[in-house]
Each structure stands twice: as structure tokens, then as C-alpha cells.
């Protein structure tokens, strides 16, 4: 299936969870301070293991940067 992550298409196995996506992305610095939205809805950290991504899902993976 194809999932759009931060605006770029990624091919992932069907049934990939949010946690699985994070592992595949190899996010630098680990998961601290990371937040995730799928199709413009927040996915709480406690649901990363159980939330499966659908084909065509639009995922935003965000973290803190300098600002404000």
C-alpha cells in the first residue's frame, strides 16, 4: 500500500501500524518529542501500536524545532 508521509509517498506492507512506520523511518533522536497525525487527526502515543494505516493515508510526523 502507499502512504503519504510528510508529503512523500512511501510503499509499506499492508497492516503497518503507526509504530511500524516510525521504525521504518528511523527517526533521528528516537520518539521523544514526536507527534503524529493521520488524515488530520492526532494519534495519541498510547495508540501508536494499535493504529493501522490505511492505503492512501496521509501521515504527518512532527517534532520540536527552534521557533517563536
Amino acid at each position: 500500500m502507499t502512504v503519504v508521509v510528510n508529503g512523500e509517498a512511501h510503499e509499506l506492507p499492508a497492516g503497518t501500524t503507526v509504530r511500524g512506520l516510525l521504525a521504518a523511518l528511523e527517526v533521528p533522536g528516537g520518539e521523544r518529542g514526536v507527534a503524529i497525525a493521520v488524515d488530520a487527526e492526532v494519534v495519541p502515543r498510547g495508540e501508536w501500536d494499535t493504529t493501522e494505516l490505511d492505503d492512501g493515508a496521509r501521515v504527518e510526523v512532527l517534532r520540536a524545532i527552534q521557533g517563536g
Binding site: 514526536v34 492526532v42 527552534q66 521557533g67
Partner: protein, 264 residues
């Protein structure tokens, strides 16, 4: 402890029930390195520091969250870059997940050129976030009526601009800022436009409860020294406000006695 230090210590700044010992909030945008942020935090004495949320950068090195945690400050996530109430609300909810804080510096921007707040969208987003349990600190225009409306919907403070973000033009409408301060029942935090220490001092002399400063410190030639300078400006301005300045007069008033002047 000097008299001045005692006066500062006895004058806590309280936002949403949280007592802060510094009236200077620090924005982290524009610093050249994480080390420079850490040094500025120490020099500024700040306890509340803003961060933004952006897409992960695979090339990023170091973590601002680590730097802020080791400095012992509270993170204040912002919604910078949001142009609609919907995006700002979603960003605030993501920040709450990322940082385990329900505090948010709410920004809903009207356009890229001015970065001025979009008033109707700001009010809409503020209302939604307050209803969702957030402690909302909105970046707002220097508009006394809008500030009142933001307070009415439950914002924990109002953050009027002195002038546009990053412009360093100082306080363009001190009259409006005084009106905001006069009516507000929540803290007034001067946000945006500070160019140097005197701007921060003036905001405090007008009665603002605190100042948020980013570019003036982060983009200064020596950010650490400027952090210290703005801190002193904020403290000096606060002391002057509480001390009560003399009224302005059109004509001179002699400071030496009129009586007993020698006649030659």
C-alpha cells in the same frame, strides 16, 4: 540579597496558577546553535521557552527538547505557521501529545508579509482550545477589544504585539497597549517587535506583566549578552512601573528650592 532583588522576588508573575520568577519569555527561533540557546536561557533567567512543531528532518542533529529539559525550563509550544483555526487547533493538539503540556502559544497568522494575526480565526481557535482544556496564550494584535474578547473566551493571558514579528520596530502603539493593560484581568505579555532592551523596559513600564523576546536576542551579534541586557530591561521596567513614574509636564519644575536664592 539587595533591596532590588527582594523587590523582584516579592513580585511573582502568575499565569494559569503557575508562579514564574522571571518576567521574560524566550523564543528559540533564530539562534545559530543549540549551545547558543542554552547560554541565552541561563543569561536571561527565563523559565518559559517557546518551540515550534515541524516535519521531522532526517538530517537534524541534536534535540532542542533535550537542551530545554537540561536547562530546567518549561516548554511553550507555539502554532507558528498556521493560517487557519483548524490548523492551529490540530497543531496545538499535536504539541500536547509531543510535549505532554496543555500550554500553547496560539498563533493564527493572516499573511506571510506582515505575519499579523488573523483576528476572527484567532478567536475561533482560542475558544476551541480553551474548551478542550488548553492553557491558551494567544499572540494577538494590539487591539484592546480583541484582547478583551480573547479573555472572555477563557485565554490565560493575552500577548499583544509591539510591532510585527522579527521587525525590531519596538512598541508602535503604546496607547493601545495601555488600554489593553488597563482592562485586562489576565496577564499581558508583550510579544513581538522588541528590538533591544529599551523596548522591553518600555513594555514593562506601561504595565505589561511580561515580555516575550526571540529575534532581538537570538539574532543579536552577541545573543548571550543581549539576553542578559533584555533581562535587566524587563526587571528595571517592572521596578519602575511599581515605583510609579512622575507625570509628564509641559514646563520645567525646579528640583532645587526657590527660597533662599542669593541676590548678587
Amino acid at each position: 540579597m539587595s533591596v532590588t532583588d527582594q523587590t523582584v522576588a516579592a513580585d511573582p508573575f502568575v499565569v494559569a496558577g503557575r508562579e514564574l520568577h522571571s518576567r521574560l519569555l524566550l523564543g528559540t527561533g533564530g539562534f545559530r546553535s543549540l549551545e547558543a540557546i542554552a547560554a541565552a536561557i541561563e543569561a536571561s533567567g527565563t523559565e518559559l521557552v517557546t518551540v515550534a512543531l515541524r516535519r521531522i528532518d532526517p538530517e537534524a542533529r541534536g534535540s532542542i527538547v533535550d537542551v530545554l529539559e537540561s536547562s530546567g525550563v518549561q516548554l511553550l509550544p507555539n502554532t507558528a505557521g498556521c493560517f487557519t483555526a483548524r490548523d492551529a487547533v490540530l497543531t496545538a493538539k499535536l504539541a500536547r501529545e509531543a510535549f505532554a503540556t496543555d500550554w500553547v502559544k496560539l498563533e493564527v497568522i493572516g499573511d506571510d508579509r506582515t505575519l499579523l494575526p488573523d483576528a476572527p480565526a484567532l478567536l475561533e481557535a482560542a475558544e476551541q482550545l480553551v474548551d478542550d482544556g488548553f492553557v491558551v496564550l494567544p499572540y494577538t494584535n494590539d487591539d484592546p477589544i480583541l484582547a478583551r474578547r480573547l479573555e472572555d473566551v477563557g485565554c490565560a493571558a493575552v500577548m499583544p504585539l509591539g510591532s510585527p514579528i522579527g521587525s525590531g520596530m519596538g512598541l508602535l502603539n503604546t496607547y493601545n497597549l495601555r488600554l489593553i493593560r488597563e482592562r485586562a484581568g489576565v496577564p499581558v505579555i508583550l510579544d513581538a517587535g522588541v528590538g533591544t532592551t529599551s523596548d522591553a523596559a518600555l513594555a514593562m513600564e506601561l504595565g505589561c506583566d511580561a515580555v516575550l523576546c526571540a529575534s532581538a536576542i537570538s539574532r543579536a551579534e552577541d545573543p548571550t549578552a543581549m539576553a542578559r541586557a533584555v533581562r535587566l530591561g524587563v526587571e528595571g521596567g517592572r521596578l519602575a512601573y511599581r515605583a510609579g513614574r512622575i507625570p509628564r509636564r509641559l514646563h520645567a519644575q525646579a528640583s532645587s528650592p526657590d527660597e533662599g536664592v542669593a541676590e548678587f
